[in-house]
Protein backbone atom coordinates (compact mmCIF):
# COMPACT_ATOMS: atom_id res chain seq x y z
CA UNK A 1 0.00 0.00 0.00
CA UNK A 2 2.69 2.41 1.12
CA UNK A 3 4.70 2.06 -2.06
CA UNK A 4 1.74 2.75 -4.34
CA UNK A 5 2.87 5.44 -6.76
CA UNK A 6 1.04 8.70 -6.09
CA UNK A 7 0.44 9.37 -9.76
CA UNK A 8 -1.14 6.00 -10.52
CA UNK A 9 -4.69 7.16 -9.82
CA UNK A 10 -5.98 9.24 -12.74
CA UNK A 11 -8.44 11.86 -11.50
CA UNK A 12 -11.51 10.51 -13.23
CA UNK A 13 -14.21 13.05 -13.97
CA UNK A 14 -12.03 15.70 -12.44
CA UNK A 15 -12.70 14.39 -8.93
CA UNK A 16 -9.90 13.47 -6.57
CA UNK A 17 -10.14 9.96 -5.01
CA UNK A 18 -10.65 11.62 -1.67
CA UNK A 19 -13.60 13.63 -2.94
CA UNK A 20 -15.17 10.57 -4.54
CA UNK A 21 -14.86 8.66 -1.29
CA UNK A 22 -16.68 11.47 0.52
CA UNK A 23 -19.52 11.43 -1.97
CA UNK A 24 -19.84 7.66 -1.77
CA UNK A 25 -20.03 7.77 1.99
CA UNK A 26 -22.64 10.54 1.82
CA UNK A 27 -24.83 8.39 -0.43
CA UNK A 28 -24.58 5.47 1.99
CA UNK A 29 -25.82 7.65 4.85
CA UNK A 30 -28.74 8.95 2.78
CA UNK A 31 -29.86 5.40 1.93
CA UNK A 32 -29.65 4.41 5.58
CA UNK A 33 -31.73 7.38 6.75
CA UNK A 34 -34.38 6.75 4.07
CA UNK A 35 -34.63 3.10 5.13
CA UNK A 36 -34.96 3.98 8.81
CA UNK A 37 -37.65 6.58 8.11
CA UNK A 38 -39.58 4.08 5.99
CA UNK A 39 -39.45 1.46 8.76
CA UNK A 40 -40.51 4.03 11.35
CA UNK A 41 -43.43 5.22 9.20
CA UNK A 42 -44.77 1.97 7.86
CA UNK A 43 -44.21 -0.44 10.76
CA UNK A 44 -47.19 -0.97 13.00
CA UNK A 45 -45.43 -0.11 16.24
CA UNK A 46 -48.46 -0.69 18.40
CA UNK A 47 -49.01 -4.19 17.09
CA UNK A 48 -45.32 -5.01 17.22
CA UNK A 49 -45.05 -3.95 20.85
CA UNK A 50 -48.22 -5.87 21.61
CA UNK A 51 -46.85 -9.07 20.01
CA UNK A 52 -43.16 -9.04 20.78
CA UNK A 53 -42.59 -6.87 23.80
CA UNK A 54 -45.49 -7.32 26.15
CA UNK A 55 -43.98 -6.78 29.56
CA UNK A 56 -46.53 -8.68 31.67
CA UNK A 57 -46.15 -11.75 29.43
CA UNK A 58 -42.38 -11.46 29.72
CA UNK A 59 -42.65 -11.13 33.48
CA UNK A 60 -44.81 -14.20 33.78
CA UNK A 61 -42.09 -16.42 32.32
CA UNK A 62 -39.71 -15.14 34.89
CA UNK A 63 -38.44 -17.54 37.46
CA UNK A 64 -38.82 -20.56 35.13
CA UNK A 65 -36.99 -18.83 32.28
CA UNK A 66 -33.81 -19.10 34.33
CA UNK A 67 -34.50 -21.84 36.89
CA UNK A 68 -35.81 -24.34 34.34
CA UNK A 69 -35.25 -23.29 30.73
CA UNK A 70 -31.77 -21.73 30.87
CA UNK A 71 -30.67 -24.32 33.40
CA UNK A 72 -31.71 -27.15 31.07
CA UNK A 73 -30.12 -25.50 28.06
CA UNK A 74 -26.88 -25.39 30.02
CA UNK A 75 -27.26 -28.99 31.18
CA UNK A 76 -27.77 -30.23 27.60
CA UNK A 77 -24.97 -28.05 26.26
CA UNK A 78 -22.41 -28.83 28.96
CA UNK A 79 -23.28 -32.53 28.97
CA UNK A 80 -23.09 -32.69 25.18
CA UNK A 81 -19.85 -30.73 25.27
CA UNK A 82 -18.13 -33.07 27.74
CA UNK A 83 -19.31 -36.04 25.67
CA UNK A 84 -18.08 -34.51 22.41
CA UNK A 85 -14.79 -33.43 24.00
CA UNK A 86 -13.90 -36.95 25.14
CA UNK A 87 -15.19 -38.74 22.04
CA UNK A 88 -13.71 -36.04 19.80
CA UNK A 89 -10.24 -36.49 21.31
CA UNK A 90 -10.51 -40.25 20.95
CA UNK A 91 -11.61 -39.91 17.30
CA UNK A 92 -8.79 -37.46 16.56
CA UNK A 93 -6.21 -39.87 18.02
CA UNK A 94 -7.75 -42.70 15.97
CA UNK A 95 -7.74 -40.48 12.88
CA UNK A 96 -3.97 -39.99 13.29
CA UNK A 97 -3.27 -43.59 14.31
CA UNK A 98 -0.72 -45.76 12.54
CA UNK A 99 -3.31 -48.55 12.53
CA UNK A 100 -5.37 -48.37 9.34
CA UNK A 101 -8.72 -49.67 10.64
CA UNK A 102 -8.74 -47.08 13.46
CA UNK A 103 -8.21 -44.37 10.89
CA UNK A 104 -11.01 -45.66 8.69
CA UNK A 105 -13.48 -45.94 11.56
CA UNK A 106 -12.70 -42.37 12.63
CA UNK A 107 -13.01 -41.04 9.07
CA UNK A 108 -16.32 -42.80 8.51
CA UNK A 109 -17.71 -41.55 11.79
CA UNK A 110 -16.61 -37.96 11.17
CA UNK A 111 -17.96 -37.90 7.63
CA UNK A 112 -21.32 -39.34 8.62
CA UNK A 113 -21.98 -37.13 11.59
CA UNK A 114 -20.83 -33.98 9.84
CA UNK A 115 -22.75 -34.87 6.71
CA UNK A 116 -26.14 -35.54 8.27
CA UNK A 117 -28.52 -32.83 9.42
CA UNK A 118 -28.53 -32.61 13.22
CA UNK A 119 -32.31 -32.88 13.21
CA UNK A 120 -32.15 -36.28 11.55
CA UNK A 121 -29.83 -37.57 14.26
CA UNK A 122 -32.21 -36.42 16.97
CA UNK A 123 -35.07 -38.15 15.18
CA UNK A 124 -32.99 -41.32 15.06
CA UNK A 125 -32.51 -41.12 18.80
CA UNK A 126 -36.27 -40.76 19.19
CA UNK A 127 -36.87 -43.86 17.10
CA UNK A 128 -33.97 -45.85 18.49
CA UNK A 129 -36.09 -47.82 21.01
CA UNK A 130 -38.16 -49.07 18.04
CA UNK A 131 -35.14 -50.16 16.06
CA UNK A 132 -33.18 -51.64 18.93
CA UNK A 133 -36.08 -53.52 20.51
CA UNK A 134 -36.72 -51.30 23.46
CA UNK A 135 -33.18 -50.04 24.14
CA UNK A 136 -33.43 -46.93 26.29
CA UNK A 137 -30.73 -44.28 26.50
CA UNK A 138 -29.75 -44.00 30.18
CA UNK A 139 -30.58 -40.68 31.81
CA UNK A 140 -33.97 -40.28 30.15
CA UNK A 141 -34.54 -37.04 28.26
CA UNK A 142 -31.30 -35.56 29.53
CA UNK A 143 -29.44 -38.65 28.38
CA UNK A 144 -31.04 -38.52 24.93
CA UNK A 145 -30.35 -34.83 24.47
CA UNK A 146 -26.76 -35.13 25.64
CA UNK A 147 -26.21 -38.20 23.44
CA UNK A 148 -27.53 -36.44 20.34
CA UNK A 149 -25.52 -33.28 20.91
CA UNK A 150 -22.44 -35.25 21.91
CA UNK A 151 -22.47 -37.54 18.87
CA UNK A 152 -22.71 -34.59 16.49
CA UNK A 153 -20.31 -32.36 18.42
CA UNK A 154 -17.70 -35.13 18.57
CA UNK A 155 -17.36 -35.20 14.78
CA UNK A 156 -16.56 -31.49 14.66
CA UNK A 157 -14.45 -31.55 17.82
CA UNK A 158 -12.42 -34.43 16.36
CA UNK A 159 -11.36 -32.22 13.46
CA UNK A 160 -10.52 -29.39 15.85
CA UNK A 161 -8.33 -31.75 17.90
CA UNK A 162 -6.73 -33.22 14.81
CA UNK A 163 -5.58 -29.77 13.72
CA UNK A 164 -4.27 -29.14 17.23
CA UNK A 165 -2.40 -32.44 17.48
CA UNK A 166 -0.83 -31.92 14.07
CA UNK A 167 0.27 -28.42 15.03
CA UNK A 168 2.48 -29.73 17.85
CA UNK A 169 6.01 -29.84 16.39
CA UNK A 170 7.49 -33.27 15.74
CA UNK A 171 10.52 -32.31 17.85
CA UNK A 172 8.30 -32.43 20.94
CA UNK A 173 7.57 -36.12 20.49
CA UNK A 174 11.21 -36.77 19.63
CA UNK A 175 12.40 -35.04 22.79
CA UNK A 176 9.92 -37.03 24.88
CA UNK A 177 10.86 -40.32 23.22
CA UNK A 178 14.58 -39.65 23.62
CA UNK A 179 13.96 -39.26 27.37
CA UNK A 180 12.67 -42.82 27.35
CA UNK A 181 8.93 -42.11 27.27
CA UNK A 182 6.81 -44.61 25.39
CA UNK A 183 4.75 -43.37 22.43
CA UNK A 184 1.60 -43.34 24.56
CA UNK A 185 3.32 -41.61 27.47
CA UNK A 186 4.70 -38.95 25.13
CA UNK A 187 1.23 -38.29 23.72
CA UNK A 188 -0.34 -37.99 27.16
CA UNK A 189 2.36 -35.89 28.84
CA UNK A 190 3.66 -33.77 26.02
CA UNK A 191 1.52 -33.68 22.88
CA UNK A 192 -2.10 -33.72 24.07
CA UNK A 193 -1.70 -30.97 26.71
CA UNK A 194 -0.18 -28.67 24.08
CA UNK A 195 -2.84 -29.58 21.53
CA UNK A 196 -5.61 -28.82 24.02
CA UNK A 197 -4.12 -25.40 24.78
CA UNK A 198 -3.98 -24.61 21.09
CA UNK A 199 -7.60 -25.58 20.43
CA UNK A 200 -9.18 -23.62 23.28
CA UNK A 201 -10.48 -20.83 21.00
CA UNK A 202 -12.11 -23.08 18.34
CA UNK A 203 -13.40 -25.30 21.14
CA UNK A 204 -15.12 -22.31 22.73
CA UNK A 205 -16.80 -21.69 19.39
CA UNK A 206 -17.82 -25.36 19.30
CA UNK A 207 -19.45 -24.91 22.69
CA UNK A 208 -21.44 -21.91 21.43
CA UNK A 209 -22.61 -23.97 18.44
CA UNK A 210 -23.62 -26.77 20.79
CA UNK A 211 -25.49 -24.36 23.02
CA UNK A 212 -27.56 -23.24 20.05
CA UNK A 213 -28.04 -26.80 18.80
CA UNK A 214 -29.42 -27.76 22.21
CA UNK A 215 -32.69 -26.25 20.91
CA UNK A 216 -32.97 -29.44 18.84
CA UNK A 217 -33.98 -31.45 21.91
CA UNK A 218 -37.32 -29.83 21.04
CA UNK A 219 -37.73 -32.80 18.69
CA UNK A 220 -37.26 -35.34 21.47
CA UNK A 221 -40.71 -34.33 22.63
CA UNK A 222 -39.49 -32.88 25.93
CA UNK A 223 -41.89 -31.42 28.41
CA UNK A 224 -42.23 -30.16 31.97
CA UNK A 225 -39.00 -30.00 33.90
CA UNK A 226 -36.91 -30.96 30.84
CA UNK A 227 -37.73 -28.03 28.56
CA UNK A 228 -34.90 -25.83 27.43
CA UNK A 229 -34.99 -22.24 26.21
CA UNK A 230 -36.38 -22.68 22.69
CA UNK A 231 -39.11 -25.10 23.72
CA UNK A 232 -39.90 -22.96 26.74
CA UNK A 233 -40.30 -19.86 24.58
CA UNK A 234 -42.47 -21.79 22.16
CA UNK A 235 -44.72 -23.18 24.92
CA UNK A 236 -45.14 -19.81 26.61
CA UNK A 237 -45.88 -18.14 23.30
CA UNK A 238 -48.63 -20.65 22.49
CA UNK A 239 -50.06 -20.32 25.97
CA UNK A 240 -50.33 -16.52 25.79
CA UNK A 241 -50.93 -16.37 22.05
CA UNK A 242 -48.13 -13.83 22.02
CA UNK A 243 -44.60 -13.84 20.57
CA UNK A 244 -42.90 -12.02 23.46
CA UNK A 245 -41.55 -15.21 25.12
CA UNK A 246 -39.71 -16.09 21.92
CA UNK A 247 -37.98 -12.72 21.97
CA UNK A 248 -37.20 -13.23 25.65
CA UNK A 249 -35.72 -16.68 24.97
CA UNK A 250 -33.68 -15.22 22.12
CA UNK A 251 -32.25 -12.52 24.37
CA UNK A 252 -31.39 -15.14 26.97
CA UNK A 253 -29.39 -17.12 24.38
CA UNK A 254 -27.54 -13.99 23.39
CA UNK A 255 -26.68 -13.17 27.01
CA UNK A 256 -24.70 -16.41 27.05
CA UNK A 257 -23.46 -16.76 23.47
CA UNK A 258 -22.16 -13.24 22.84
CA UNK A 259 -19.79 -13.13 25.86
CA UNK A 260 -18.54 -16.61 24.95
CA UNK A 261 -17.90 -15.45 21.40
CA UNK A 262 -15.87 -12.53 22.73
CA UNK A 263 -14.01 -14.84 25.06
CA UNK A 264 -13.09 -17.05 22.11
CA UNK A 265 -11.66 -14.16 20.11
CA UNK A 266 -9.81 -12.82 23.18
CA UNK A 267 -8.21 -16.24 23.67
CA UNK A 268 -7.38 -16.35 19.98
CA UNK A 269 -5.62 -13.01 20.27
CA UNK A 270 -3.68 -14.07 23.34
CA UNK A 271 -2.51 -17.24 21.64
CA UNK A 272 -1.26 -15.13 18.76
CA UNK A 273 0.84 -13.06 21.13
CA UNK A 274 2.44 -15.81 23.21
CA UNK A 275 3.44 -18.00 20.28
Amino acid sequence: MADQPKTAEPARGGLSPRKRQQISRGIQYVVLVVALVAVALFADWGSLAQNFAKLDVARESLPELFTVALRNTIIYAVGGFVFSFVLGLLLALMRLSQVGPYRWIAIIYIEIFRGLPALLIFLMIVFMPLALSGFEVPGGTYGQGILGLGLIGAAYQAEVFRAGLQAVPKGQTEAARSLGMSATRAQITVVIPQAIRMVIPPTTNQFVALLKDSSLVFFLGVSGQYVELAKFGNDQASQHANATPILVAGITYLIVTIPLGYLASRLEGRKGRTR
Binding site: P169, G171, Q172, E174, A175, A176, R177, S178, L179, G180, M181, S182, R185, T189, V190, P193, Q194, R197, T274
Partner: protein, 247 residues
Protein backbone atom coordinates in the same frame (compact mmCIF):
# COMPACT_ATOMS: atom_id res chain seq x y z
CA UNK B 1 36.14 -53.52 26.73
CA UNK B 2 32.73 -52.84 25.25
CA UNK B 3 32.37 -49.70 23.20
CA UNK B 4 29.93 -47.03 24.36
CA UNK B 5 28.70 -46.78 20.79
CA UNK B 6 29.47 -49.06 17.87
CA UNK B 7 28.00 -48.63 14.42
CA UNK B 8 28.53 -51.41 11.87
CA UNK B 9 27.89 -50.85 8.18
CA UNK B 10 25.02 -48.46 8.96
CA UNK B 11 22.75 -47.59 6.06
CA UNK B 12 19.74 -45.31 6.00
CA UNK B 13 17.62 -44.38 3.04
CA UNK B 14 14.59 -42.10 2.78
CA UNK B 15 12.70 -43.35 -0.26
CA UNK B 16 15.21 -43.18 -3.13
CA UNK B 17 17.59 -40.98 -1.17
CA UNK B 18 20.35 -43.02 0.43
CA UNK B 19 21.58 -40.74 3.21
CA UNK B 20 23.96 -43.08 5.08
CA UNK B 21 25.98 -45.40 2.88
CA UNK B 22 27.68 -47.78 5.27
CA UNK B 23 29.05 -46.07 8.37
CA UNK B 24 31.47 -47.81 10.74
CA UNK B 25 32.15 -45.85 13.89
CA UNK B 26 33.03 -46.53 17.51
CA UNK B 27 33.02 -44.31 20.56
CA UNK B 28 34.66 -45.59 23.74
CA UNK B 29 33.46 -44.78 27.26
CA UNK B 30 34.56 -41.31 28.33
CA UNK B 31 35.46 -40.25 24.80
CA UNK B 32 34.26 -37.07 23.13
CA UNK B 33 33.81 -37.52 19.39
CA UNK B 34 32.86 -34.57 17.18
CA UNK B 35 31.19 -35.14 13.82
CA UNK B 36 31.72 -32.43 11.22
CA UNK B 37 30.70 -32.20 7.60
CA UNK B 38 28.73 -30.19 5.06
CA UNK B 39 24.99 -29.67 5.25
CA UNK B 40 23.04 -32.69 4.07
CA UNK B 41 25.93 -35.10 4.56
CA UNK B 42 23.85 -37.18 7.00
CA UNK B 43 25.24 -36.04 10.38
CA UNK B 44 21.86 -35.63 12.06
CA UNK B 45 20.61 -38.86 10.57
CA UNK B 46 23.65 -40.68 11.92
CA UNK B 47 23.09 -39.27 15.40
CA UNK B 48 19.37 -40.08 15.30
CA UNK B 49 20.15 -43.67 14.36
CA UNK B 50 22.16 -44.06 17.57
CA UNK B 51 19.01 -43.77 19.71
CA UNK B 52 16.77 -45.12 16.97
CA UNK B 53 14.80 -41.93 16.37
CA UNK B 54 15.50 -43.11 12.83
CA UNK B 55 15.30 -46.81 12.06
CA UNK B 56 18.40 -47.84 10.05
CA UNK B 57 17.64 -49.62 6.80
CA UNK B 58 20.69 -51.87 7.19
CA UNK B 59 23.53 -52.42 9.60
CA UNK B 60 23.84 -52.63 13.35
CA UNK B 61 23.82 -50.18 16.23
CA UNK B 62 25.33 -51.23 19.56
CA UNK B 63 25.14 -49.07 22.67
CA UNK B 64 27.04 -50.36 25.73
CA UNK B 65 27.25 -53.71 23.98
CA UNK B 66 23.47 -54.01 23.51
CA UNK B 67 22.28 -54.32 19.94
CA UNK B 68 19.52 -51.71 19.49
CA UNK B 69 18.69 -52.89 16.00
CA UNK B 70 17.63 -56.22 17.51
CA UNK B 71 13.84 -56.45 17.23
CA UNK B 72 13.43 -57.71 20.78
CA UNK B 73 15.20 -54.86 22.53
CA UNK B 74 13.09 -52.54 24.70
CA UNK B 75 13.98 -49.28 23.01
CA UNK B 76 12.31 -47.10 25.66
CA UNK B 77 14.53 -48.68 28.32
CA UNK B 78 17.66 -48.12 26.21
CA UNK B 79 16.82 -44.49 25.43
CA UNK B 80 16.68 -43.68 29.16
CA UNK B 81 20.45 -44.04 29.24
CA UNK B 82 21.12 -41.96 26.12
CA UNK B 83 20.75 -38.21 26.56
CA UNK B 84 19.90 -36.22 23.43
CA UNK B 85 20.22 -32.49 22.89
CA UNK B 86 18.62 -30.95 19.80
CA UNK B 87 19.47 -27.92 17.71
CA UNK B 88 16.01 -26.47 18.38
CA UNK B 89 16.12 -27.28 22.14
CA UNK B 90 12.66 -28.93 22.04
CA UNK B 91 11.80 -27.97 25.61
CA UNK B 92 8.19 -28.64 26.54
CA UNK B 93 6.67 -25.15 26.24
CA UNK B 94 3.77 -25.82 28.62
CA UNK B 95 6.06 -26.68 31.54
CA UNK B 96 8.45 -24.54 33.58
CA UNK B 97 12.19 -25.18 33.37
CA UNK B 98 12.01 -27.16 36.60
CA UNK B 99 9.08 -29.27 35.38
CA UNK B 100 10.89 -29.91 32.10
CA UNK B 101 13.75 -31.45 34.05
CA UNK B 102 11.47 -33.34 36.46
CA UNK B 103 8.85 -34.87 34.19
CA UNK B 104 10.78 -37.77 32.67
CA UNK B 105 12.42 -38.56 36.03
CA UNK B 106 8.96 -39.00 37.49
CA UNK B 107 7.19 -40.68 34.58
CA UNK B 108 10.04 -42.80 33.24
CA UNK B 109 12.39 -43.46 36.15
CA UNK B 110 9.49 -43.39 38.67
CA UNK B 111 11.41 -41.15 41.02
CA UNK B 112 9.34 -39.46 43.72
CA UNK B 113 8.43 -35.82 43.22
CA UNK B 114 10.78 -34.78 46.03
CA UNK B 115 13.73 -36.73 44.63
CA UNK B 116 13.04 -35.53 41.10
CA UNK B 117 12.95 -31.93 42.26
CA UNK B 118 16.22 -32.19 44.19
CA UNK B 119 17.96 -33.76 41.18
CA UNK B 120 16.40 -31.24 38.80
CA UNK B 121 17.63 -28.31 40.89
CA UNK B 122 21.12 -29.81 41.10
CA UNK B 123 21.32 -30.12 37.35
CA UNK B 124 19.83 -26.70 36.62
CA UNK B 125 22.42 -25.31 39.02
CA UNK B 126 25.17 -27.22 37.27
CA UNK B 127 24.32 -25.65 33.90
CA UNK B 128 23.96 -22.22 35.50
CA UNK B 129 20.23 -21.55 35.18
CA UNK B 130 19.10 -22.26 38.75
CA UNK B 131 17.52 -18.79 38.89
CA UNK B 132 15.18 -19.69 36.02
CA UNK B 133 13.48 -22.72 37.59
CA UNK B 134 10.00 -21.24 37.44
CA UNK B 135 10.27 -19.66 33.99
CA UNK B 136 8.54 -21.09 30.97
CA UNK B 137 10.80 -21.87 27.99
CA UNK B 138 9.25 -18.97 26.07
CA UNK B 139 10.60 -16.58 28.70
CA UNK B 140 14.20 -17.81 28.38
CA UNK B 141 16.95 -16.88 25.93
CA UNK B 142 18.10 -19.52 23.47
CA UNK B 143 21.24 -20.16 25.47
CA UNK B 144 19.26 -20.63 28.67
CA UNK B 145 16.80 -22.93 26.92
CA UNK B 146 19.60 -25.09 25.57
CA UNK B 147 21.17 -25.35 29.01
CA UNK B 148 17.83 -26.39 30.50
CA UNK B 149 17.62 -29.01 27.75
CA UNK B 150 21.06 -30.30 28.75
CA UNK B 151 20.00 -30.40 32.40
CA UNK B 152 16.87 -32.32 31.38
CA UNK B 153 18.99 -34.97 29.70
CA UNK B 154 21.54 -35.09 32.55
CA UNK B 155 18.85 -35.61 35.18
CA UNK B 156 18.24 -39.05 33.70
CA UNK B 157 21.83 -40.06 34.58
CA UNK B 158 22.69 -40.94 30.99
CA UNK B 159 25.68 -43.12 30.15
CA UNK B 160 26.26 -41.08 27.01
CA UNK B 161 25.06 -37.87 25.44
CA UNK B 162 24.24 -37.05 21.81
CA UNK B 163 24.37 -33.40 20.72
CA UNK B 164 23.00 -32.32 17.33
CA UNK B 165 24.41 -28.88 16.55
CA UNK B 166 23.53 -27.62 20.04
CA UNK B 167 24.74 -24.07 19.38
CA UNK B 168 23.64 -23.56 15.76
CA UNK B 169 20.34 -21.89 16.64
CA UNK B 170 21.93 -19.50 19.14
CA UNK B 171 22.93 -15.86 18.86
CA UNK B 172 26.77 -15.74 18.71
CA UNK B 173 27.12 -14.18 22.16
CA UNK B 174 25.19 -17.05 23.77
CA UNK B 175 27.22 -19.86 22.19
CA UNK B 176 29.97 -19.64 24.80
CA UNK B 177 27.68 -20.40 27.77
CA UNK B 178 26.53 -23.65 26.20
CA UNK B 179 30.02 -24.69 25.10
CA UNK B 180 31.31 -24.06 28.63
CA UNK B 181 28.73 -26.46 30.01
CA UNK B 182 29.66 -29.06 27.40
CA UNK B 183 33.34 -28.64 28.12
CA UNK B 184 32.67 -29.22 31.82
CA UNK B 185 30.74 -32.38 31.00
CA UNK B 186 33.62 -33.65 28.89
CA UNK B 187 36.05 -33.02 31.74
CA UNK B 188 33.83 -35.02 34.08
CA UNK B 189 34.26 -37.97 31.76
CA UNK B 190 30.89 -38.00 29.98
CA UNK B 191 30.83 -39.97 26.74
CA UNK B 192 29.74 -37.54 24.06
CA UNK B 193 28.95 -37.72 20.35
CA UNK B 194 28.66 -34.16 19.12
CA UNK B 195 27.64 -32.87 15.69
CA UNK B 196 29.01 -29.35 15.52
CA UNK B 197 30.39 -26.56 13.38
CA UNK B 198 32.37 -25.16 16.33
CA UNK B 199 35.90 -26.02 15.21
CA UNK B 200 37.44 -24.43 18.30
CA UNK B 201 35.44 -26.71 20.53
CA UNK B 202 36.24 -29.76 18.41
CA UNK B 203 39.94 -29.00 18.44
CA UNK B 204 40.17 -28.39 22.18
CA UNK B 205 37.71 -30.88 23.62
CA UNK B 206 37.32 -33.76 21.19
CA UNK B 207 39.34 -36.94 21.50
CA UNK B 208 38.46 -37.67 17.87
CA UNK B 209 36.97 -35.79 14.98
CA UNK B 210 34.98 -37.54 12.26
CA UNK B 211 34.51 -35.83 8.92
CA UNK B 212 31.45 -36.99 6.99
CA UNK B 213 30.49 -36.22 3.42
CA UNK B 214 27.88 -37.75 1.15
CA UNK B 215 26.79 -40.34 3.70
CA UNK B 216 30.22 -41.84 4.39
CA UNK B 217 32.98 -41.22 6.91
CA UNK B 218 35.77 -39.61 4.94
CA UNK B 219 38.23 -39.08 7.75
CA UNK B 220 38.39 -40.17 11.39
CA UNK B 221 41.21 -39.26 13.75
CA UNK B 222 42.54 -36.99 16.47
CA UNK B 223 41.65 -33.29 16.01
CA UNK B 224 45.23 -32.28 15.32
CA UNK B 225 45.17 -34.59 12.34
CA UNK B 226 41.65 -34.21 10.91
CA UNK B 227 41.40 -30.47 11.49
CA UNK B 228 45.09 -29.59 11.58
CA UNK B 229 46.40 -31.79 8.79
CA UNK B 230 43.53 -33.31 6.77
CA UNK B 231 44.51 -36.07 4.35
CA UNK B 232 41.57 -35.76 1.96
CA UNK B 233 40.79 -32.99 -0.48
CA UNK B 234 37.10 -32.96 0.52
CA UNK B 235 38.04 -32.38 4.17
CA UNK B 236 40.39 -29.58 3.23
CA UNK B 237 37.76 -27.86 1.09
CA UNK B 238 35.17 -28.13 3.84
CA UNK B 239 37.48 -26.85 6.56
CA UNK B 240 38.60 -24.00 4.40
CA UNK B 241 34.99 -22.94 3.88
CA UNK B 242 34.14 -23.22 7.58
CA UNK B 243 37.24 -21.44 8.83
CA UNK B 244 37.23 -18.72 6.17
CA UNK B 245 33.53 -18.15 5.43
CA UNK B 246 34.00 -14.69 3.94
CA UNK B 247 36.20 -15.83 1.05
Amino acid sequence: MTHAIELQDLHKRFGQNEVLKGIDLTVDPGQVVCVIGPSGSGKSTLLRCVNLLEQPTKGKVYVQGVELTDRDVDIDAVRRHIGMVFQQFNLFPHMTALQNVMIAQQRVLKRSKTDAEVIARENLDKVGVSDKCDSLPGQLSGGQQQRVAIARALAMNPDLMLFDEPTSALDPELVGDVLTVMRKLAEEGMTMLVVTHEMGFARQVADRVVFMDGGVVVEDGVPAQVIGDPQHERTRTFLHRVLHPEE
